[in-house]
Amino acid sequence: MCFAAALIATAGSAAPSNAQDAKIFQFALQNGMQVLVVPDHRAPVVTQMLWYRVGAVDDTPGVGGLAHFFEHMMFRGTPSLPGEGFSQTVARNGGTDNAFTTHDFTAFYVQIAKDRLKLVMSLDADRMANLDLSDANVHTERDVVLEERRMRIDNDPQSLMREQMEAALHLSHPYGRPVIGWAEEIRHIGRVEAQDFYQRHYAPNNCILVVAGDVTPPEVKAAAEAEFGKVPARPVAVRWDFAQPPRMAETRMTIARQDVKVPLFMRIYRVASYTEAKPGEAEALETLSQLMGGDATSALYRELVVKRKLASDAGASYEGYARDAGEFDVYAVPRPGVRLDVLEHNVDDVMQSFTKAHPHAADLERAKTQLVADSIYRRDSQYAMASAYGQALVIGLTADDVTEWPDRIRAVSGEQVQRVAVEDLIKREAVTAYLVPAAGQH
């Protein structure tokens, strides 16, 4: 029951997985539910993920955090399985379950022995159609979400900074609102809002079922028709097409707080996502982020941490899996006594090297090798494979986009990398932030 906004820059590129040799199968149920199967017969277990096309962008204005809150409510019972019955039934059958919410989607998953897949489908079909929101647990769950917000955001100055940066970066687009919601808006959520949200968004024709594991497509199809097929399709709310207003200037902020011990420099650029990008553009951004800040051999780390000794850490990442804009961020943690403006100047210096020339051939090759290897290592995990396909389909990409991704990465040229460095990473499209300890320490 977490929300998965890209809050801190620890993660490297969220590259999609691919499966060059892995076979996938797709079909649809009568009620419009899309299904994708990734067979993996190494162990007698399955991972089922349900990806709903609803997320924080669909929050009712003034009730931010509703989509994430609703994800919590999906675990709070139906008439036939009241209370915490969903998770308890899954556990009693040897399974584990959880869920996460982003701006664009809400995903629920279960990992369990393969002979329990049909049972899990019956549980998920039940809560898709029959959720019981009538009792007082709405208020208790609101308190739980407020504690979750304190834990993930309010207690963590880096998360607070990221939240402020996102709010500034996206202007009026709802990507600027935190997925978990502002505390005062979380307090506005009530039973009526939750019931309304359920009616408008939760239907079989608004979600994608992904099953990875020790199953065959006919088995999945039969079980899905039998369980999810019982839930009739119905009209769901049309998603708003939000403007992404032009940015006319860089936004800069310095956040000084008592709870900060380690200063931080960060910049986030609004860039093309996989859904918006021209052919090859997102893959070039992915490659650029690897070259610039993907590991200890990357340019920012080599220059700022190893050679110039200005930073204890530095990196970059690209988050391109979005229905609207993607994000490209760079960050650096100063060594003691290094001023953040000096650090920023040096980050800019390293970044500019990518705008002036193609990357060195050996570096480009290494970056691409790493990205392609990610897609092979990902095949080791049912969860990672189901996630790769699910997150692509739910934002409007195709399974081919995932399967062909390694080849597209291999095709990225030095010229393309230079072009996105010049054309996508522009200051006007960025928010730059300094996080510093409060009270005269800087």
Binding site: R42, P44, Q88, A91, D143, D259, D295, R366
Partner: protein, 454 residues
């Protein structure tokens, strides 16, 4: 933020009993001709062109000398910072060019190294690891860089209530025993460590006398023997003895470390059970029922579901080589800390006094046995589980016996184990953050215009 995740170093991860257990799908074998008599368990699975290995070396923070706390961790962090003729950049480039994933996780007893490689690069991967272990360079430049990273990470840890609480808890629980200090050391000790210390630690502790190795993936036994020889064959046969036994554990009562955060973290703990204790499996089941089982646990039901006091509470039964520990944690707003601690005490006391219900036991068994195969669904997962078993000295046939051991547990067994473990009066409790004094029963919170109270 730090690339090297120092934060993971002191969490309750050391040799936690992995909640997965038995009739694993994977066919786990003992490598018949391990190069120098190491304990090697392996799974041959050629589905994917990759190999994963997890190896535990008795080179954890329990071996840190006085005044040099963090030395084991510091040394471990230099594993990929240069070896033989390769300086740090050359070594890291050699790994990166081949997409070899080498990671270190120093705990209290063991340094755990995980190596993941594509089959085509396996020979290089194991050789590079061998070079790093047997001929580390410890260049001054790399030492200063890693020192700066560790110091920065320590400062970040000081911002983080769960970390502050966990460190203080270990200190309060183990006192001056080698398990008591943080795996990541402290700023003074990290500054006190020099090149000679690092070299001496590696020479003395990066040895093959007591290795525990688990491998899974695209490899056959003969090839694996060769690969392991290239990784570990050049190490000395010395084996470090485990830490001494603690003379006394625990500091009953509450210790508060003030922090300017809205939500304090509370860590609570008691002596647990050694892995060899006859009540360990009943205790493991008891832990699931009281705090290990997510929405099936009593603490989650009491704190989260009924009262909305926390997002997450859980407990674990962790075994080190020289101690067992029951520890749990949760975070709640400053105004709720006292109430929540009371709920935890009451819940544990009730469980210790009355034991589980038949239904709770039955549900625990079906989860604990039924979920075991999930951990065996990936190469990386398999080596993690197997290595966890190896670290606590379990024999390979435990993998087959585990589920029947759990099935055999009775209500009386769990009640007996619970009574031994959950003694709320003896609890060591650490609060990181600044709790507000307990208030009289609060009037209902102001409602908003949207919601009706029920």
């Amino acid at each position: 933020m730090a690339r090297k995740t120092w934060r993971a170093l002191f969490a309750f991860v050391a040799t936690m009993f992995v909640s997965a257990g038995a009739n694993a799908a994977a066919d786990v074998k003992v490598l018949p001709h391990a190069p120098k008599g190491e304990v090697v368990w392996y799974v041959s699975d050629h589905t994917l062109p990759m190999i994963a290995m997890s190896v535990a070396i008795p080179a954890g923070s329990a071996y840190d000398p006085q005044g040099k706390f963090g030395l084991a961790s510091f040394t471990a962090s230099l594993l990929d910072e240069g070896a033989g003729t390769l300086n740090a950049q050359a070594f890291q480039t050699a790994l990166s060019n081949r997409a070899i994933r080498l990671s270190v996780s120093p705990g209290r007893d063991y340094l755990v190294i995980t190596l993941v490689s594509l089959t085509d690069n396996a020979k290089d991967a194991f050789q590079l690891l061998g070079l790093a272990l047997s001929h580390p360079r410890f260049d001054q430049d790399a030492i200063q860089r890693v020192r700066a990273q560790m110091l920065s990470a320590l400062e970040q840890e000081d911002e983080d209530p769960p970390t502050v609480a966990a460190k203080a808890f270990y200190k309060a629980f183990f006192h001056d025993h080698p398990y008591g200090h943080p795996v990541s050391g402290d700023a003074a000790s990290i500054n006190a460590i020099n090149q000679a210390d690092l070299k001496a630690f590696a020479a003395q502790h990066w040895t093959r006398g007591d290795l525990r190795i688990a491998v899974s993936g695209d490899v056959d036994p003969a090839t694996l023997t060769t690969l392991l020889n290239s990784a570990f064959g050049h190490l000395s046969a010395h084996a470090a003895a485990p830490a001494p036994w603690p003379t006394h554990v625990g500091s009953p009562g509450i210790q508060t470390i003030p922090m300017p955060v809205p939500q304090p973290t509370v860590v609570f703990g008691l002596p647990g059970l050694m892995r060899s204790d006859k009540d360990f499996i009943p205790g493991f089941v008891a832990n699931y029922i009281v705090g290990g089982g997510g929405f099936s646990s009593r603490l989650t039901d009491e704190l989260r579901v009924k009262r909305g006091l926390t997002y997450d509470v859980d407990t674990s039964l962790t075994t080190y080589r020289r101690a067992g520990i029951m520890a749990g944690d949760f975070a709640t707003k400053a105004a709720s800390v006292q109430d929540a601690i009371g709920v935890v005490r009451d819940t544990l006391k009730d469980f210790a006094d009355n034991g589980p219900t038949e239904k709770e036991l039955a549900d625990a068994k079906t989860y604990l046995t039924g979920s075991f195969p999930i951990s065996f669904s990936s190469n990386v997962g398999i080596v993690g589980v197997l290595n966890g078993f190896q670290q606590v000295g379990l024999p390979i046939d435990y993998i087959q016996k585990r589920n029947s051991l759990i099935e055999a547990v009775t209500v009386a067994d769990v009640k007996r184990a619970a009574a031994r473990i959950y003694n709320p009066r003896a609890m060591t409790i650490v609060i990181a953050g600044t709790p507000e004094a307990a208030k009289p029963a609060k009037p209902s919170a102001p409602t908003d215009s949207h919601a009706r109270r029920h």
